[in-house]
Subunit: 229 residues, 2 copies
DNA sequence: TAGGTGTGTTAAAATTGGTTAAATAGGAAC
DNA sequence: GTTCCTATTTAACCAATTTTAACACACCTA
Protein backbone atom coordinates (compact mmCIF):
# COMPACT_ATOMS: atom_id res chain seq x y z
CA UNK A 1 0.00 0.00 0.00
CA UNK A 2 1.18 3.52 -0.78
CA UNK A 3 2.34 5.55 2.20
CA UNK A 4 -0.04 8.45 2.87
CA UNK A 5 1.44 11.92 3.12
CA UNK A 6 -0.23 15.02 4.48
CA UNK A 7 1.16 18.21 2.98
CA UNK A 8 0.18 21.49 4.62
CA UNK A 9 1.40 24.43 2.57
CA UNK A 10 -0.23 27.78 1.94
CA UNK A 11 1.73 28.63 -1.18
CA UNK A 12 -0.50 27.09 -3.87
CA UNK A 13 2.35 26.73 -6.33
CA UNK A 14 4.69 24.90 -4.02
CA UNK A 15 1.87 22.83 -2.61
CA UNK A 16 0.81 21.62 -6.02
CA UNK A 17 4.33 20.88 -7.14
CA UNK A 18 5.08 18.92 -3.99
CA UNK A 19 1.85 17.01 -4.12
CA UNK A 20 2.30 16.12 -7.74
CA UNK A 21 5.95 15.16 -7.49
CA UNK A 22 5.49 12.95 -4.46
CA UNK A 23 2.38 11.45 -6.01
CA UNK A 24 4.46 10.42 -8.97
CA UNK A 25 6.99 8.89 -6.62
CA UNK A 26 4.53 6.44 -5.20
CA UNK A 27 2.90 8.30 -2.34
CA UNK A 28 -0.72 9.07 -1.76
CA UNK A 29 -0.73 12.79 -1.08
CA UNK A 30 -3.30 15.07 0.50
CA UNK A 31 -2.83 18.82 0.32
CA UNK A 32 -4.15 21.30 2.87
CA UNK A 33 -4.01 25.07 2.46
CA UNK A 34 -3.59 26.24 6.02
CA UNK A 35 -3.06 25.07 9.56
CA UNK A 36 -6.73 24.78 10.47
CA UNK A 37 -7.56 22.74 7.42
CA UNK A 38 -4.44 20.65 7.98
CA UNK A 39 -5.53 19.75 11.50
CA UNK A 40 -8.98 18.65 10.35
CA UNK A 41 -7.57 16.64 7.49
CA UNK A 42 -5.11 14.95 9.78
CA UNK A 43 -7.91 13.77 12.05
CA UNK A 44 -9.79 12.21 9.19
CA UNK A 45 -6.98 10.48 7.37
CA UNK A 46 -4.57 7.90 8.64
CA UNK A 47 -1.31 9.47 7.55
CA UNK A 48 2.13 7.95 7.56
CA UNK A 49 3.99 11.26 7.47
CA UNK A 50 3.27 15.00 7.58
CA UNK A 51 5.06 17.77 5.73
CA UNK A 52 4.29 21.12 7.31
CA UNK A 53 5.07 24.63 6.25
CA UNK A 54 5.94 26.85 9.20
CA UNK A 55 4.49 30.19 8.25
CA UNK A 56 0.87 29.83 7.35
CA UNK A 57 -2.28 31.86 7.87
CA UNK A 58 -4.70 30.94 10.67
CA UNK A 59 -2.42 28.46 12.36
CA UNK A 60 1.34 28.20 12.08
CA UNK A 61 3.23 24.96 11.58
CA UNK A 62 4.54 24.70 15.13
CA UNK A 63 1.06 24.94 16.57
CA UNK A 64 -0.28 22.40 14.13
CA UNK A 65 2.61 20.05 14.89
CA UNK A 66 1.85 20.26 18.61
CA UNK A 67 -1.77 19.35 17.90
CA UNK A 68 -0.70 16.44 15.77
CA UNK A 69 1.71 15.25 18.45
CA UNK A 70 -1.10 15.47 20.97
CA UNK A 71 -3.21 13.18 18.85
CA UNK A 72 -0.45 10.79 17.92
CA UNK A 73 3.13 11.03 19.06
CA UNK A 74 4.37 8.67 16.42
CA UNK A 75 3.52 10.04 12.97
CA UNK A 76 6.72 11.55 11.51
CA UNK A 77 6.75 15.29 10.80
CA UNK A 78 8.97 17.23 8.44
CA UNK A 79 9.07 21.02 8.63
CA UNK A 80 9.50 22.92 5.43
CA UNK A 81 10.32 26.56 5.81
CA UNK A 82 12.14 29.66 4.73
CA UNK A 83 13.25 30.31 8.32
CA UNK A 84 16.69 28.87 8.85
CA UNK A 85 17.22 30.38 12.28
CA UNK A 86 18.93 28.04 14.64
CA UNK A 87 16.34 28.60 17.33
CA UNK A 88 13.50 27.66 15.01
CA UNK A 89 15.25 24.48 13.99
CA UNK A 90 15.80 23.48 17.61
CA UNK A 91 12.22 24.32 18.41
CA UNK A 92 10.99 22.22 15.52
CA UNK A 93 12.84 19.16 16.70
CA UNK A 94 11.86 19.78 20.31
CA UNK A 95 8.21 19.69 19.35
CA UNK A 96 8.91 16.28 17.89
CA UNK A 97 9.85 16.80 14.27
CA UNK A 98 11.86 14.23 12.36
CA UNK A 99 13.43 16.61 9.90
CA UNK A 100 13.57 20.28 9.09
CA UNK A 101 14.27 21.53 5.59
CA UNK A 102 15.00 25.06 4.56
CA UNK A 103 13.59 26.58 1.39
CA UNK A 104 14.65 26.50 -1.30
CA UNK A 105 15.28 22.79 -1.27
CA UNK A 106 15.63 20.06 -3.83
CA UNK A 107 12.65 17.78 -4.43
CA UNK A 108 14.99 14.86 -4.75
CA UNK A 109 16.52 15.58 -1.37
CA UNK A 110 13.10 15.84 0.21
CA UNK A 111 12.22 12.49 -1.31
CA UNK A 112 15.26 10.66 0.05
CA UNK A 113 14.75 12.25 3.45
CA UNK A 114 11.14 11.09 3.52
CA UNK A 115 12.29 7.61 2.59
CA UNK A 116 14.96 7.60 5.29
CA UNK A 117 12.37 8.48 7.91
CA UNK A 118 9.76 5.99 6.71
CA UNK A 119 12.43 3.29 6.75
CA UNK A 120 12.50 3.63 10.53
CA UNK A 121 8.90 4.52 11.12
CA UNK A 122 7.07 1.68 12.82
CA UNK A 123 4.00 2.14 10.70
CA UNK A 124 5.97 1.83 7.53
CA UNK A 125 4.75 -0.41 4.81
CA UNK A 126 7.30 -2.30 2.82
CA UNK A 127 6.73 -0.34 -0.33
CA UNK A 128 4.59 -2.76 -2.26
CA UNK A 129 4.89 -2.90 -5.96
CA UNK A 130 1.76 -4.42 -7.54
CA UNK A 131 2.37 -8.10 -8.14
CA UNK A 132 1.48 -8.92 -10.81
CA UNK A 133 1.58 -5.58 -12.60
CA UNK A 134 -0.32 -5.60 -15.88
CA UNK A 135 0.33 -3.12 -18.66
CA UNK A 136 -0.94 -3.60 -22.18
CA UNK A 137 -0.19 -7.13 -23.21
CA UNK A 138 2.54 -7.53 -20.61
CA UNK A 139 2.33 -9.07 -17.19
CA UNK A 140 5.17 -8.21 -14.87
CA UNK A 141 6.10 -9.99 -11.66
CA UNK A 142 8.64 -7.86 -9.87
CA UNK A 143 9.19 -10.26 -7.00
CA UNK A 144 9.81 -13.16 -9.33
CA UNK A 145 12.06 -11.29 -11.77
CA UNK A 146 9.69 -12.30 -14.49
CA UNK A 147 7.99 -10.70 -17.47
CA UNK A 148 5.32 -12.45 -19.49
CA UNK A 149 4.60 -11.27 -22.99
CA UNK A 150 2.18 -12.70 -25.56
CA UNK A 151 5.16 -14.43 -27.13
CA UNK A 152 7.31 -15.61 -24.25
CA UNK A 153 8.16 -15.68 -20.59
CA UNK A 154 11.34 -13.83 -19.74
CA UNK A 155 13.45 -14.45 -16.67
CA UNK A 156 14.95 -11.08 -15.92
CA UNK A 157 18.37 -10.48 -14.47
CA UNK A 158 18.60 -8.26 -11.41
CA UNK A 159 19.53 -5.12 -13.29
CA UNK A 160 16.90 -5.68 -15.96
CA UNK A 161 14.31 -6.20 -13.27
CA UNK A 162 15.12 -3.05 -11.34
CA UNK A 163 15.21 -0.96 -14.48
CA UNK A 164 11.90 -2.31 -15.69
CA UNK A 165 10.35 -1.58 -12.34
CA UNK A 166 11.42 2.04 -12.49
CA UNK A 167 9.83 2.39 -15.92
CA UNK A 168 6.58 0.79 -14.81
CA UNK A 169 6.50 3.05 -11.76
CA UNK A 170 6.85 6.04 -14.07
CA UNK A 171 4.66 5.42 -17.07
CA UNK A 172 4.46 8.47 -19.32
CA UNK A 173 6.92 10.31 -17.10
CA UNK A 174 10.57 10.97 -17.66
CA UNK A 175 12.90 8.71 -15.74
CA UNK A 176 15.93 10.89 -15.13
CA UNK A 177 19.22 9.14 -15.83
CA UNK A 178 20.91 10.17 -12.62
CA UNK A 179 17.94 9.11 -10.54
CA UNK A 180 17.89 5.63 -12.04
CA UNK A 181 21.65 5.36 -11.74
CA UNK A 182 21.65 6.34 -8.10
CA UNK A 183 18.88 3.93 -7.35
CA UNK A 184 20.13 0.88 -9.23
CA UNK A 185 23.88 1.39 -9.54
CA UNK A 186 24.19 3.44 -6.33
CA UNK A 187 26.45 5.82 -8.13
CA UNK A 188 26.17 8.18 -11.06
CA UNK A 189 29.40 7.69 -13.00
CA UNK A 190 30.38 7.55 -16.63
CA UNK A 191 30.81 3.79 -16.83
CA UNK A 192 27.65 3.05 -14.92
CA UNK A 193 25.83 5.31 -17.33
CA UNK A 194 27.17 3.30 -20.26
CA UNK A 195 26.21 0.10 -18.50
CA UNK A 196 22.71 1.45 -18.11
CA UNK A 197 22.58 2.21 -21.83
CA UNK A 198 23.26 -1.45 -22.50
CA UNK A 199 20.38 -2.41 -20.23
CA UNK A 200 18.08 0.13 -21.82
CA UNK A 201 18.64 -1.68 -25.09
CA UNK A 202 17.79 -5.05 -23.53
CA UNK A 203 14.67 -3.77 -21.86
CA UNK A 204 13.54 -2.08 -25.06
CA UNK A 205 13.63 -5.43 -26.82
CA UNK A 206 11.53 -7.06 -24.13
CA UNK A 207 8.76 -4.50 -24.09
CA UNK A 208 8.71 -4.42 -27.88
CA UNK A 209 6.65 -7.60 -27.56
CA UNK A 210 3.79 -5.19 -27.01
CA UNK A 211 3.99 -2.72 -29.94
CA UNK A 212 1.97 -0.12 -28.04
CA UNK A 213 4.82 0.36 -25.57
CA UNK A 214 7.93 2.36 -26.29
CA UNK A 215 10.83 3.77 -24.35
CA UNK A 216 11.62 7.20 -25.73
CA UNK A 217 14.92 8.96 -25.27
CA UNK A 218 14.75 12.38 -23.66
CA UNK A 219 18.07 13.72 -24.81
CA UNK A 220 20.24 14.92 -21.95
CA UNK A 221 17.55 14.02 -19.45
CA UNK A 222 16.65 10.38 -19.45
CA UNK A 223 13.99 8.08 -20.82
CA UNK A 224 10.24 7.82 -20.87
CA UNK A 225 8.04 4.77 -21.20
CA UNK A 226 4.98 5.68 -23.18
CA UNK A 227 1.89 3.70 -24.04
CA UNK A 228 0.27 4.64 -27.33
CA UNK A 229 -3.25 3.40 -27.94
CA UNK B 1 21.79 2.99 29.60
CA UNK B 2 23.60 5.67 27.65
CA UNK B 3 23.34 5.37 23.88
CA UNK B 4 26.71 4.58 22.33
CA UNK B 5 27.90 6.87 19.54
CA UNK B 6 30.75 6.23 17.15
CA UNK B 7 32.27 9.46 15.85
CA UNK B 8 34.69 9.18 12.94
CA UNK B 9 36.32 12.53 12.24
CA UNK B 10 39.86 13.31 11.14
CA UNK B 11 39.91 16.91 12.29
CA UNK B 12 41.16 16.51 15.88
CA UNK B 13 39.60 19.77 17.02
CA UNK B 14 36.14 19.04 15.73
CA UNK B 15 36.38 15.44 16.87
CA UNK B 16 37.22 16.41 20.42
CA UNK B 17 34.58 19.09 20.59
CA UNK B 18 31.91 16.73 19.27
CA UNK B 19 32.93 13.94 21.56
CA UNK B 20 33.01 16.16 24.60
CA UNK B 21 29.77 17.96 23.85
CA UNK B 22 27.82 14.79 23.16
CA UNK B 23 29.41 13.15 26.19
CA UNK B 24 28.03 15.97 28.33
CA UNK B 25 24.64 15.47 26.75
CA UNK B 26 24.38 11.92 28.00
CA UNK B 27 25.99 9.82 25.31
CA UNK B 28 28.84 7.38 25.53
CA UNK B 29 31.12 8.48 22.70
CA UNK B 30 34.00 6.78 20.94
CA UNK B 31 36.19 8.81 18.62
CA UNK B 32 38.07 7.39 15.63
CA UNK B 33 40.55 9.37 13.57
CA UNK B 34 40.10 7.89 10.12
CA UNK B 35 37.97 5.51 8.10
CA UNK B 36 40.11 2.42 8.73
CA UNK B 37 40.16 2.91 12.45
CA UNK B 38 36.44 3.67 12.41
CA UNK B 39 35.68 0.35 10.73
CA UNK B 40 37.67 -1.62 13.28
CA UNK B 41 36.13 0.25 16.17
CA UNK B 42 32.66 -0.35 14.81
CA UNK B 43 33.21 -4.11 14.71
CA UNK B 44 34.29 -4.17 18.34
CA UNK B 45 31.68 -1.93 19.87
CA UNK B 46 27.95 -2.26 19.80
CA UNK B 47 26.99 1.22 18.69
CA UNK B 48 23.57 2.81 18.56
CA UNK B 49 24.49 5.47 16.00
CA UNK B 50 27.44 6.51 13.83
CA UNK B 51 28.51 10.03 12.93
CA UNK B 52 30.84 9.96 9.95
CA UNK B 53 32.88 12.67 8.34
CA UNK B 54 32.90 12.35 4.58
CA UNK B 55 36.40 13.40 3.63
CA UNK B 56 38.95 11.48 5.62
CA UNK B 57 42.37 9.97 4.97
CA UNK B 58 42.69 6.23 4.22
CA UNK B 59 38.99 5.60 3.82
CA UNK B 60 36.26 8.09 3.04
CA UNK B 61 32.94 8.24 4.83
CA UNK B 62 30.89 6.75 2.00
CA UNK B 63 33.11 3.68 1.85
CA UNK B 64 33.03 3.27 5.60
CA UNK B 65 29.25 3.63 5.62
CA UNK B 66 28.94 0.89 3.02
CA UNK B 67 31.06 -1.39 5.19
CA UNK B 68 28.95 -0.62 8.21
CA UNK B 69 25.80 -1.31 6.23
CA UNK B 70 27.31 -4.63 5.14
CA UNK B 71 27.75 -5.64 8.76
CA UNK B 72 24.43 -4.33 10.00
CA UNK B 73 21.85 -2.60 7.87
CA UNK B 74 20.12 -1.04 10.82
CA UNK B 75 22.52 1.15 12.80
CA UNK B 76 21.69 4.79 12.01
CA UNK B 77 24.32 6.87 10.22
CA UNK B 78 24.68 10.65 10.08
CA UNK B 79 27.06 12.20 7.58
CA UNK B 80 28.89 15.33 8.61
CA UNK B 81 30.59 17.16 5.80
CA UNK B 82 31.63 20.32 4.09
CA UNK B 83 30.31 19.03 0.77
CA UNK B 84 26.82 20.31 0.23
CA UNK B 85 26.48 19.19 -3.37
CA UNK B 86 23.08 17.80 -4.15
CA UNK B 87 24.57 14.69 -5.69
CA UNK B 88 26.55 13.90 -2.55
CA UNK B 89 23.52 14.33 -0.36
CA UNK B 90 21.48 11.99 -2.54
CA UNK B 91 24.32 9.49 -2.58
CA UNK B 92 24.59 9.62 1.19
CA UNK B 93 20.94 8.79 1.67
CA UNK B 94 21.09 6.16 -1.07
CA UNK B 95 23.82 4.34 0.83
CA UNK B 96 21.48 4.27 3.76
CA UNK B 97 22.18 7.37 5.81
CA UNK B 98 19.60 8.77 8.20
CA UNK B 99 20.75 12.36 8.06
CA UNK B 100 23.29 14.53 6.31
CA UNK B 101 24.59 17.73 7.89
CA UNK B 102 26.70 20.35 6.22
CA UNK B 103 29.57 22.08 8.01
CA UNK B 104 29.54 24.45 9.68
CA UNK B 105 26.64 23.24 11.77
CA UNK B 106 25.32 23.93 15.20
CA UNK B 107 26.09 21.39 17.92
CA UNK B 108 22.65 21.90 19.28
CA UNK B 109 21.10 21.05 15.93
CA UNK B 110 23.22 17.93 15.65
CA UNK B 111 22.05 16.91 19.09
CA UNK B 112 18.36 17.26 18.34
CA UNK B 113 18.81 15.46 15.05
CA UNK B 114 20.53 12.57 16.81
CA UNK B 115 17.69 12.43 19.29
CA UNK B 116 15.09 12.48 16.53
CA UNK B 117 16.73 9.49 14.87
CA UNK B 118 17.25 7.49 18.05
CA UNK B 119 13.61 8.05 18.92
CA UNK B 120 12.72 5.87 15.91
CA UNK B 121 15.64 3.51 15.92
CA UNK B 122 14.49 0.01 16.70
CA UNK B 123 15.96 -1.48 19.82
CA UNK B 124 18.13 -4.51 19.58
CA UNK B 125 15.17 -6.77 19.81
CA UNK B 126 15.45 -10.20 21.34
CA UNK B 127 12.77 -11.19 18.93
CA UNK B 128 11.51 -14.70 19.37
CA UNK B 129 11.56 -16.70 16.20
CA UNK B 130 8.29 -18.62 15.79
CA UNK B 131 8.65 -22.31 16.55
CA UNK B 132 7.32 -23.98 14.54
CA UNK B 133 7.39 -21.59 11.61
CA UNK B 134 5.00 -22.56 8.82
CA UNK B 135 5.39 -21.38 5.26
CA UNK B 136 3.59 -22.92 2.35
CA UNK B 137 3.89 -26.67 2.64
CA UNK B 138 6.93 -26.45 4.89
CA UNK B 139 7.12 -26.59 8.67
CA UNK B 140 10.35 -25.35 10.17
CA UNK B 141 11.59 -25.96 13.69
CA UNK B 142 14.53 -23.66 14.26
CA UNK B 143 15.27 -24.87 17.75
CA UNK B 144 15.28 -28.50 16.64
CA UNK B 145 17.32 -27.92 13.46
CA UNK B 146 14.52 -29.57 11.56
CA UNK B 147 12.54 -28.93 8.41
CA UNK B 148 9.46 -30.95 7.49
CA UNK B 149 8.33 -31.03 3.89
CA UNK B 150 5.45 -32.97 2.34
CA UNK B 151 8.01 -35.50 1.19
CA UNK B 152 10.46 -35.84 4.07
CA UNK B 153 11.83 -34.70 7.36
CA UNK B 154 15.25 -33.08 7.11
CA UNK B 155 17.75 -32.81 9.94
CA UNK B 156 19.62 -29.60 9.27
CA UNK B 157 23.24 -28.92 10.02
CA UNK B 158 24.09 -25.79 11.98
CA UNK B 159 24.98 -23.72 8.95
CA UNK B 160 21.96 -24.88 6.98
CA UNK B 161 19.76 -24.04 9.92
CA UNK B 162 21.07 -20.52 10.41
CA UNK B 163 20.87 -19.77 6.71
CA UNK B 164 17.32 -21.04 6.47
CA UNK B 165 16.32 -18.93 9.44
CA UNK B 166 17.66 -15.79 7.82
CA UNK B 167 15.62 -16.51 4.70
CA UNK B 168 12.45 -17.16 6.66
CA UNK B 169 12.97 -13.93 8.58
CA UNK B 170 13.20 -12.05 5.30
CA UNK B 171 10.57 -13.39 2.95
CA UNK B 172 10.36 -11.30 -0.22
CA UNK B 173 13.25 -9.18 0.97
CA UNK B 174 16.82 -9.32 -0.20
CA UNK B 175 19.20 -11.03 2.17
CA UNK B 176 22.47 -9.23 1.59
CA UNK B 177 25.41 -11.60 1.16
CA UNK B 178 27.73 -9.73 3.46
CA UNK B 179 25.11 -9.40 6.18
CA UNK B 180 24.45 -13.14 6.16
CA UNK B 181 28.18 -13.86 6.08
CA UNK B 182 28.88 -11.59 9.00
CA UNK B 183 26.03 -13.11 10.95
CA UNK B 184 26.70 -16.80 10.29
CA UNK B 185 30.39 -16.98 9.41
CA UNK B 186 31.36 -13.94 11.50
CA UNK B 187 33.50 -12.73 8.66
CA UNK B 188 32.96 -11.60 5.10
CA UNK B 189 35.82 -13.20 3.19
CA UNK B 190 36.24 -14.78 -0.23
CA UNK B 191 36.32 -18.36 0.99
CA UNK B 192 33.44 -17.93 3.37
CA UNK B 193 31.46 -16.51 0.50
CA UNK B 194 32.18 -19.61 -1.58
CA UNK B 195 31.24 -21.77 1.37
CA UNK B 196 27.97 -19.94 1.63
CA UNK B 197 27.32 -20.58 -2.06
CA UNK B 198 27.59 -24.28 -1.35
CA UNK B 199 25.03 -23.93 1.42
CA UNK B 200 22.72 -21.87 -0.75
CA UNK B 201 22.63 -24.80 -3.14
CA UNK B 202 21.75 -27.23 -0.33
CA UNK B 203 19.02 -25.03 1.05
CA UNK B 204 17.58 -24.47 -2.41
CA UNK B 205 17.13 -28.21 -2.79
CA UNK B 206 15.32 -28.46 0.52
CA UNK B 207 12.81 -25.72 -0.10
CA UNK B 208 12.22 -26.99 -3.63
CA UNK B 209 9.98 -29.56 -1.93
CA UNK B 210 7.41 -26.77 -2.03
CA UNK B 211 7.40 -25.57 -5.67
CA UNK B 212 5.88 -22.23 -4.69
CA UNK B 213 9.10 -21.26 -2.88
CA UNK B 214 12.21 -20.08 -4.63
CA UNK B 215 15.48 -18.45 -3.67
CA UNK B 216 16.35 -15.93 -6.35
CA UNK B 217 19.81 -14.52 -6.89
CA UNK B 218 20.14 -10.76 -6.66
CA UNK B 219 23.39 -10.44 -8.55
CA UNK B 220 26.05 -8.55 -6.64
CA UNK B 221 23.70 -8.12 -3.70
CA UNK B 222 22.48 -11.35 -2.24
CA UNK B 223 19.45 -13.62 -2.38
CA UNK B 224 15.71 -13.35 -1.97
CA UNK B 225 13.25 -16.00 -0.88
CA UNK B 226 9.99 -15.51 -2.74
CA UNK B 227 6.69 -17.25 -2.48
CA UNK B 228 4.71 -17.35 -5.69
CA UNK B 229 1.00 -17.93 -5.42
C1' DT C 1 27.32 22.23 -41.41
C1' DA C 2 31.04 21.08 -38.21
C1' DG C 3 32.30 19.54 -33.90
C1' DG C 4 31.32 18.30 -29.32
C1' DT C 5 28.57 15.60 -26.53
C1' DG C 6 25.27 12.15 -25.66
C1' DT C 7 23.18 7.70 -27.02
C1' DG C 8 22.79 2.86 -29.57
C1' DT C 9 24.69 -1.51 -30.58
C1' DT C 10 27.54 -5.26 -30.36
C1' DA C 11 31.01 -8.13 -28.64
C1' DA C 12 34.74 -9.20 -25.58
C1' DA C 13 36.40 -9.06 -20.88
C1' DA C 14 35.75 -9.25 -16.12
C1' DT C 15 33.27 -10.46 -12.29
C1' DT C 16 30.20 -13.08 -9.74
C1' DG C 17 27.63 -17.23 -8.80
C1' DG C 18 26.49 -22.54 -9.32
C1' DT C 19 27.77 -27.26 -9.01
C1' DT C 20 30.26 -31.08 -7.86
C1' DA C 21 33.70 -33.50 -5.64
C1' DA C 22 37.73 -33.92 -2.95
C1' DA C 23 40.22 -32.29 1.24
C1' DT C 24 40.13 -31.01 5.88
C1' DA C 25 38.52 -30.47 10.55
C1' DG C 26 36.45 -31.93 14.59
C1' DG C 27 33.87 -34.80 17.52
C1' DA C 28 32.24 -39.44 19.25
C1' DA C 29 33.13 -44.28 19.85
C1' DC C 30 36.19 -47.53 20.44
C1' DG D 1 45.47 -42.38 20.46
C1' DT D 2 43.04 -44.29 16.45
C1' DT D 3 39.03 -44.88 13.70
C1' DC D 4 34.97 -43.48 11.80
C1' DC D 5 31.61 -40.32 10.79
C1' DT D 6 29.76 -35.99 9.63
C1' DA D 7 30.03 -30.98 8.84
C1' DT D 8 32.41 -27.68 6.62
C1' DT D 9 35.83 -25.70 3.56
C1' DT D 10 38.55 -25.65 -0.50
C1' DA D 11 39.12 -26.36 -5.27
C1' DA D 12 38.21 -26.66 -10.00
C1' DC D 13 35.42 -25.91 -13.61
C1' DC D 14 31.39 -24.09 -15.74
C1' DA D 15 27.53 -20.72 -16.36
C1' DA D 16 25.27 -16.32 -15.85
C1' DT D 17 25.46 -11.51 -15.26
C1' DT D 18 27.50 -7.24 -15.60
C1' DT D 19 31.01 -4.02 -17.19
C1' DT D 20 34.10 -2.25 -20.48
C1' DA D 21 35.41 -1.07 -25.01
C1' DA D 22 34.97 0.31 -29.63
C1' DC D 23 32.65 2.30 -33.05
C1' DA D 24 28.41 4.15 -35.28
C1' DC D 25 24.95 7.38 -35.10
C1' DA D 26 21.94 11.31 -33.36
C1' DC D 27 21.24 15.66 -31.34
C1' DC D 28 22.41 20.33 -30.18
C1' DT D 29 24.74 24.61 -30.73
C1' DA D 30 27.61 27.84 -32.86
Amino acid sequence: MKPKLLIVEDDPNLGEILSEYLGLKGFETTLSRDGDEGGKTYKEGDFDLCILDLMMPKKDGFTLAKEIRAMDDNTPIIFLTAKSMKQDIIKGFTIGADDYMTKPFSMEELLVRIQAILKRSTKKEVEEFPNPFIIGALTYYYHENKLKTPAREINLTTKENELLRIFFENINQTVVRSVALNRIWKDDSYFNARSMDVYIAKVRKYIADDPSLKILTIHGEGFKLVQVK
